[in-house]
Structure formats: structure tokens, C-alpha cells
């Protein structure tokens, strides 16, 4: 059984102008010990998926499909069960560590809070466990008595990771965990996440717009555009040999230093990512696509097989693979 299995997830936000589709039919699985990377630009729906998994969406958002966490559908859970599953089943490392910590509470108390709330132990043992967690993320346990302002950005992000581990969840969702950090500190945090994942056999959903970071830490990649997954597969091949033209453009935005093809040759896409209230017809990528042809504005592509355990939603793919699906 997969740790997380998302089936045909659709999310629409309620606005005055009517429902606004943010996620338009997304399915993926994450197995135990696997790291799935979800990439895409702002507005593509990746953060909406994070919020849908733990049912953190604003009131009025319409959700359909299934989110199976260890086999249980989160979307239909009763409130009490949902409270129990949040943080013990799946936890989140949020983007801005600096804003996610309570500035007037000591680190130790914040770490112990979730352990106590979930009745995993008493307060004394919770503090001891908090100290162990800090050691696990590479901070000395004496830091338990510190307030967030006494820590640097990288240290705060380590605390956030420790917090996500507090109730031993089977899934950790990392939502842009390194975007606010400096390059050197980013390398430290990524290497820590990778170490923990191997030691603890964690399943992870890793979300960022930075494809080069994903390639480094993920087993599989899923690329999103306008609320849909447009390509998925093993991370190395997807990054190095993309099947979808959007992935190709995204990958080119992270040039390899020393590669003559990128020297003095920045490449990008014309146009802008579509607004959720004006998603283009057919393949939603066609207005920006460098290889679009007559059928693209009318035919909605499915995810076609595009090589070994790879799929891509582009009408050109079936031809390339020789077998239309």
C-alpha cells in the first residue's frame, strides 16, 4: 500500500466570480521511502495540493477525488480522526521558517507541544524527545531553551524539520523548504533531509519551483502546469531528457555551468503562466508552446506513456514513442 495515494484530485476556490479551478484532476502515489518532487511555477496549483492533503484549504473550496493517506481517505474523515492524522500521519515543513515559529515561545516548548497534544507522552518525556529531535537535525539540545530570534535562518529551518519529525509521521511534505535560504545553507538542509529520509525510511513530497533542487533529492518528479501534471517519471531522465516542451523550458532555466549550450544563451518561454480563471482550451500550454501545431488548441492531451515508467501530456509524445495510448 502506498503511503500517499492521490486520485483525480480537483480543487476549486470559491470567488465572487464563481469557482476558480486550481487543481484539475491530479493523481500520484508515494511509496514508503520514496521522495516525489512536485515542480511548477507560481499559480500552477502545487501549494493547493499540499493544503488539500491535510485539508487546510479555506472554507468554501470545493474538493473532489481521493487523498488516501495510509489507505484512509483524508477528504472524508471525521474532524476528530483528521486532528489525529494531522502531524502523526503527515506533517509539513513550511516555506518561511522565520514566520512559522512562535517568536515568544522557546524552541523546546514548541517542539514538545505537538507531542503532548497528540498524547504520545507526558510533558517531561516530550522535552527529552525534543532534545533528541534537535540532535537528529544537527543542533545541540541546549538550543531547546533558545527563542527563535536567537537562531539563524538555517537553524530555524532545522527546527522546523525537527518539528515535522516530532510525531513520527509516515509522510513529510516539504513546501519550498529551502527557497528563503542562502545557497550554502540550502546545501546543508538538503543534505540533512536526504540523510533523515534514508535513516528513517520516510516518504516525502517535496515541492519547489527550483527543478535543479528537486533533481538532486527526489526519486521521481511530477511537473505541473495550470493545475495538471504534464509530465512525470524518474527524476534524472525527466530533467535531462524531458518529453514535454514545458519541462524542457523549465529545465533550461537551470543551466549547467560549463555547458557551452547555455553560455551567453539564456532561454525562456514567451508569455506568462495562465491565470486560473482563463485557462487556454485544449492543451493549456499551447499558447506558449514552441512546438504547438493545429490540434493543440482543441485536443486535451492525456498522460501518454513516454518511455520507461514515464508519462507526458503532450500530443507529440505518442508519435515519438510510436504507440498511441
Amino acid at each position: 500500500m502506498s503511503v500517499l495515494s492521490v486520485r483525480d484530485l480537483e480543487v476549486a476556490y470559491a470567488t465572487q466570480a464563481g469557482p476558480l479551478p486550481a487543481v484539475r484532476g491530479v493523481s500520484f502515489d508515494i511509496e514508503k521511502g520514496e521522495v516525489l518532487g512536485l515542480a511548477g511555477e507560481s499559480g500552477c496549483g502545487k501549494s493547493t495540493i499540499v493544503n488539500a492533503i491535510l485539508r487546510l484549504l479555506p472554507v468554501g473550496a470545493k474538493t473532489s477525488g481521493e487523498v488516501l493517506l495510509n489507505g484512509e481517505d483524508v477528504l472524508t474523515m471525521k474532524a476528530g480522526r483528521l486532528r489525529a492524522v494531522r502531524w502523526t500521519g503527515a506533517s509539513v515543513v513550511f516555506q518561511g521558517a522565520m514566520h512559522a515559529l512562535n517568536p515568544v515561545q522557546r524552541i523546546g516548548d514548541q517542539l514538545a507541544e505537538s507531542i503532548v497534544i497528540h498524547k504520545l507522552s507526558g510533558e517531561k518525556e516530550a522535552i527529552v524527545r525534543a532534545g533528541d529531535l534537535l540532535e537528529k537535525v544537527g543542533l545541540p539540545p541546549r538550543r531547546l531553551r533558545d527563542y527563535p530570534h536567537e537562531l539563524s535562518g538555517g537553524q530555524k529551518q532545522r527546527v522546523m524539520i525537527a518539528m515535522a519529525l516530532a510525531c513520527s509521521p509516515s509522510l513529510i511534505i516539504a513546501d519550498e523548504p529551502t527557497t528563503a535560504l542562502d545557497v550554502m545553507v540550502q546545501a546543508q538542509v538538503l543534505s540533512l533531509l536526504n540523510k533523515l529520509r534514508h535513516e528513517m525510511g520516510l516518504a516525502m513530497l517535496f515541492i519547489t519551483h527550483d527543478l535543479s533542487v528537486l533533481v538532486e533529492v527526489c526519486d521521481r518528479l511530477a511537473i505541473m502546469y495550470a493545475g495538471k501534471i504534464v509530465e512525470e517519471g524518474p527524476s534524472g531522465p525527466v530533467f535531462e531528457n524531458p518529453a514535454h516542451p514545458y519541462t524542457r523550458a523549465l529545465a533550461a532555466a537551470f543551466p549547467a555551468i560549463g555547458d557551452a549550450r547555455f553560455r551567453m544563451a539564456p532561454s525562456g518561454l514567451g508569455g506568462d503562466p495562465p491565470q486560473p480563471d482563463a485557462i487556454p482550451s485544449g492543451c493549456s500550454f499551447h499558447p506558449r508552446c514552441p512546438v504547438a501545431f493545429d490540434e493543440c488548441p482543441t485536443v486535451v492531451p492525456d498522460l501518454y506513456e513516454a518511455g520507461e515508467s514515464r508519462r507526458a501530456a503532450c500530443l507529440l509524445v505518442p508519435d515519438q514513442a510510436g504507440v498511441p495510448t
Binding site: S42, D182, L190, H209, V215, G268, L269, D272
Partner: protein, 357 residues
């Protein structure tokens, strides 16, 4: 410190910075002040010499807190240097308001976040025309203000420009907003554009187009650019030369191909190691946080974090004492390629006289 004067063939640089120091005073509490405690002084820029040539793109890279933004802001005249001088077209920039005014017209800045840089209550036309009005330019090249604004918008890739005149920033996408900011810089026909992380707040697929635009401005109008960035991949795509800053000083500078593919300074090597890439997770990285500019170490300022010192490579080459005790400037170790490293200097076959022991 020797000046990286680029190649001898180059004409006079359009902008030259010499021995620049910028520091910010910290504060102490009243009690501590009475007790004689001194405020810590952050030496954000601590002796920088650099030259920018006509039509050249120079990338300035480094960790946050290394002083790269302070250097850019000082060049713009937004910070006052404690020491050192800035020369524009060979003339030192004095304090004369008239000279400074003219300088500020010819050196323009493009900020990181276009949403913050544009006034949300001003139309695009007003935002672009503001520079013209401040500098009292009513007509130029036989063009009216409206024509000048239209030309700047068109050159920034916003076509047809008239369509954007009456729009407000919130009606544009992030990439379009950054183009408006660039148009606001272009409208004054500058010689130099300083771009502070020009694409880091933009979506990945839009970045390339903005970088293409910047490169095009260099090619079409010969505008020199100083691009401040933490992203060495970006430097590889657009820069002629790369300067790497560490704790307020340039520690390596040279042609982009050399610096990025054959780095001399251990810090540059460390920065290149952490550029994410497939299968690269086990690469070495520097531990600890970016250092504190209020406490710049003795000797080579990088030595406490230097992997060559830790591994004993510096000791084996007999330079460890100098790493710990002797501050050094940039040394030309390859033609046009300078680095401030005792070990790199010692490992060089024909070490330059100042660096030989």
C-alpha cells in the same frame, strides 16, 4: 591591492571603484554604552577595487551578507563610502550636486522585486516617465516625453507600448512588471545598469526572457551591466566576467569561463560545489553560517572555513601560517584572472613576486 585592470587592450573603464570601504555602525544599549562598550561596526564592503568596461556584463556573486548588494548600492550613490573613490568615465565622483545628478541619470538600477519597485497607484506611463521628469528631460532626440516613454517600453519588449500606458502594476504579470522597471531605467539612456538579482523573484520560465532582454540591451546600446546574483548558473548564462565576494571583499575575479570552470579560490570552488545538480547530493559543502561582517578574521578572511586549511593542504604547501596571519589582496594568477589565495599563489609554477615566499 592590485587592481584587476582587465586586459590591456581595453579602453578606459566606464566605471571604476578604488579601495572602497563601507561600514555600518551597530548600536549599544544606554547602560552598556556608559559602561564603555563599543558598538560593533559591520564592515560590509572592506576594500574593493573593480572596474566595469563599456558594454561589459560583470556578475557579482556571493552568499547573503557578503556585501554584494552594499557594493551595488554604494555605486548607485545610495550609501556613502567611508573610504575610497568611485570614478565615472575617468573622473572621480565628487560631492558636487550637479555632477552627481548627471551621474545618477547615466547609472540606473533594476531592483530585485518589481512589485515592490513600482508604485501601485501610478500608471505604467507615470512610472516610466518619472525619471525623465526628475531629470528635467522634456524632449530628446527630437522626441516628446510620450515618444520617449513609448520607445523605452518597446525596447523592454512591451509592445505595442501605448497599450500599457494607462495600466496599473497589478494588471501586469511579474515578468511584465520587471520589463516596466527596466523601461524606467532605459528611458534615461544610461551607460550603466546595475541589476540587483534581476530575475530571482520571477517564475523560472519567465527568467530567460528577461535575461535575453538584458543581454540584448548590452548588444544594441553598449550598456555596461553589473549584475548582482547568488546564482552562478545565471552568471554562466549572461556574464563576461565574474567577481566573487566574501566578507566585503572580492576574492576572485576573471573571465566567466575561467572563474566558473577553473576556479582558483577555495571559496569559489565551494560555491560551485553547492550548485544543485542531478546526483550531486554527497558533494562537500561549507558548514556553519555565512560569517559576521562585524568580526572579520585575521589573515585570509576565509581561513576559518577554508577546506584547504582544514584538510591540511595549506599546511602541506607551507602556507598555513600565512593563511592565518597574512591578509592578502588579489593576485593575477592567470591572464586577467585574479584570486586572493595564498595556496593558489603558491601552487602556481611561476608565482608572482609578491606572492612567493
Amino acid at each position: 591591492m592590485s587592481e584587476p585592470a582587465a586586459t590591456a587592450a581595453d579602453a578606459e573603464p566606464v566605471l571604476e571603484v578604488r579601495g572602497l570601504h563601507v561600514s555600518f555602525a551597530g548600536r549599544v544599549g544606554l547602560g552598556a554604552g556608559v559602561a564603555g562598550k563599543k558598538a560593533a561596526v559591520a564592515r560590509a564592503v572592506d576594500g574593493v577595487d573593480v572596474a566595469l568596461h563599456r558594454g561589459e556584463v560583470l556578475a557579482l556573486a556571493g552568499e547573503s551578507g557578503c556585501g554584494k548588494t552594499t557594493l551595488a548600492r554604494t555605486i548607485m550613490g545610495l550609501e556613502t563610502p567611508k573610504e575610497g573613490e568611485i570614478r565615472f568615465e575617468g573622473q572621480p565622483l565628487g560631492k558636487s550636486p550637479k555632477v552627481l545628478r548627471e551621474y545618477r541619470r547615466r547609472v540606473q538600477i533594476v531592483f530585485q522585486d518589481p512589485t515592490a519597485a513600482l508604485n501601485p497607484r501610478q500608471t505604467i506611463y507615470e512610472s516610466v516617465a518619472e525619471g525623465l521628469r526628475i531629470h528635467g528631460v522634456t524632449a530628446q532626440d527630437g522626441m516628446s516625453e510620450e515618444q520617449l516613454v513609448a520607445r523605452a517600453l518597446a525596447r523592454s519588449g512591451l509592445r505595442p507600448p501605448e497599450r500599457f500606458f494607462l495600466l496599473y502594476p497589478h494588471e501586469l504579470s511579474g515578468g511584465q512588471r520587471q520589463r516596466v522597471v527596466i523601461a524606467g531605467a532605459l528611458v534615461l539612456e544610461p551607460e550603466i545598469i546595475v541589476a540587483d538579482e534581476p530575475v530571482s523573484s520571477l517564475d523560472a520560465s519567465v527568467r530567460g526572457e528577461i535575461l535575453k532582454l538584458l543581454l540584448g540591451l548590452r548588444d544594441d546600446f553598449g550598456i555596461a551591466m553589473l549584475v548582482v546574483t547568488h546564482d552562478l548558473g545565471l552568471a554562466w548564462t549572461i556574464a563576461d566576467r565574474v567577481a566573487v565576494m566574501y566578507l566585503g571583499r572580492i576574492v576572485e575575479i576573471g573571465p566567466a569561463e575561467d572563474v566558473l570552470t577553473r576556479p582558483l579560490h577555495p571559496y569559489t570552488k565551494a560555491l560551485l560545489e553547492v550548485v544543485p545538480e542531478a546526483g550531486g547530493l554527497d558533494r562537500p559543502y561549507l558548514s556553519g553560517e555565512p560569517p559576521d561582517p562585524t568580526r572579520i578574521p585575521e589573515g585570509c578572511r576565509f581561513h576559518p572555513r577554508c577546506p584547504e586549511v582544514v584538510s591540511g593542504a595549506a599546511a602541506a604547501a607551507g602556507v598555513e601560517d600565512r593563511c592565518r596571519g597574512e591578509d592578502l589582496g588579489l593576485l593575477e594568477l592567470r591572464p586577467g584572472h585574479f584570486a586572493a589565495c595564498h595556496l593558489a599563489a603558491a601552487s602556481r609554477d611561476d608565482a608572482v613576486p609578491t606572492a612567493s615566499s
